[in-house]
Symmetry: C2
Subunit: 291 residues, 2 copies
């Protein structure tokens, strides 16, 4: 199953990127768009989307593929912007020069623009026979990306003098996980709001995992700088409570996700897929099932 | 009529901006969003959109207002990015400090993100009773904004060594004028493709007018730096052929627009509104009707 999903996600992204370009696309922008998306990271958001859609028995593979690509393209756009000098000034991403270092800030910014509008265009065309679904998909992803608690709001909290850390993390990290599970449910005709808490919980777990990587990870393994949060004075739970306690907290959060999964037509499939995805969040050498 | 449209456009923009924010929006982002949109410039794109929708007898004021706001918000996002250091490094816009100078590059970028996703979200909600219209509106604006000949592609052409100037201008400037007239037609249930040429022609006239402003304009009148094209080595028809010949060329383009307007239910209204909008493109002191 894992391999199949990996292949489906990459195919969906290749198809999506090719649909967003044509002969009129400037060649440098085209290369920049490719390098923003490939090679990818863990692809956890589209994998979660697909897991929820499968568990809800969607029967609409094209819409699911479009939605999975859309959420990952939007995530890639956010990474491109995060690396720019106005935010993290990161030299590397996924073991290669970050996009703004390789192509310049202007081209990186334009690639992120094309990915953002492209992700919403993909959703608007996800199922030509069901315009209401398409509208719901566009509204879902745009809401979780914008100024009302979306990732844009999340990043903007970094510029405020006083920030509630949980509000900041929920918007910056959690919102796109909420979007992922909600989009998966919508594609299957399931009520999106039943899945919001699951997305929020997985987002919270992912944030702890990301904090742990920033403290424990090596540049070689993750392809991006480590220790960034401490150097930028950003909140990091693994810095605050120590890596061991943060790992135990992460395991508790994952247990919480698994214990409160919504009802769906294929609960066993859902549980195994969510277990697979959340286990990938654990630091190397940690086995949740043995904890 | 002019005053009424001015009021309608500003009301639509105020309503749109308030819908894109809520209590969870970080306060600095909120101020930045406001200053990206108000006070505005000529608002020619939403005015054109409204003119086409009115001439096609739309009967859907809420959808037209949403679409008019959407195209202007997207335009404002493009101006915010144009002014950033990775492009024009402009200190001023509309007689005030440019957004990245006033709020920093990161906050300006986030405001542009929120305006981009917000503009497409507005279209997805333009008429809850007509999801097919909403899908068509989202597809129209996203196509004209993206990498397939949209404004993103247009800006990206500036980074290529060889550029076809008409391709560059059609994408960077023309695409949003095409979007404006097409969105207006779509809101009225009229065939959008009948209006594309009108949008392209108005875009070409606007480009010449903009080139003339860069050569003739004063910082005081337009609130942005002049002489930028020459200093950045960008193509400018008024630099190439001289201001007088460029003005004559502009008048010819405007005549071309007026002579090839599509059929619609209210042709006299259309003609008067388009005449009004295109006359605003002429340099101060030039009277087209006397030419």
């Amino acid at each position: 199953m894992t391999i199949e999903i990996e292949v489906l996600v990459e195919q969906a992204l290749e198809s999506a990127l090719s649909r967003l370009q044509d002969a009129s696309t400037p060649p440098t922008l085209s290369r920049c768009l490719h390098d923003a998306v490939f090679p990818g990271g863990a692809r956890i958001r589209p994998r979660l989307l697909w897991a929820v859609a499968d568990a809800c028995d969607h029967g609409r593979p094209q819409a699911v593929a479009a939605a999975a690509a859309a959420v990952e393209l939007l995530h890639c756009a956010s990474l491109v912007q995060d690396d720019m000098n106005c935010f993290d000034a990161a030299d590397t991403r996924r073991c290669r020069p970050s996009l703004h270092r390789a192509f310049g800030a202007g081209m990186a910014l334009l690639a992120s623009d094309a990915l953002i509008v492209g992700s919403l265009e993909l959703l608007a065309k996800a199922d030509p026979d069901d315009p209401l679904l398409c509208v719901d998909l566009v509204c879902c992803l745009s809401r979780h990306s914008g100024a009302r608690g979306g990732i844009t709001a999340g990043q903007a909290w970094e510029s405020e003098r006083t920030v509630d850390v949980s509000t900041y993390h929920a918007a910056k990290t959690g919102s796109l996980f909420e979007a992922s599970v909600e989009l998966g449910a919508l594609c299957a005709g399931a009520p999106a709001q039943h899945w919001t808490d699951t997305g929020r919980q997985i987002g919270a777990a992912y944030q702890v995992a990301d904090d742990l990587i920033d403290v424990l990870g090596s540049d070689k393994r993750h392809g991006k700088p480590v220790g960034v949060d401490a150097s930028l004075g950003r909140p990091n739970i693994a810095n605050d409570m120590g890596a061991e306690a943060a790992t135990a907290h992460l395991i508790g959060l994952i247990d919480g996700v698994l214990e409160s999964l919504p009802d769906c037509p294929a609960p066993a499939l859902l549980r195994s897929r969510i277990l697979e995805e959340t286990n990938r969040l654990l630091p190397a050498g940690v086995d949740r099932s043995a904890a």
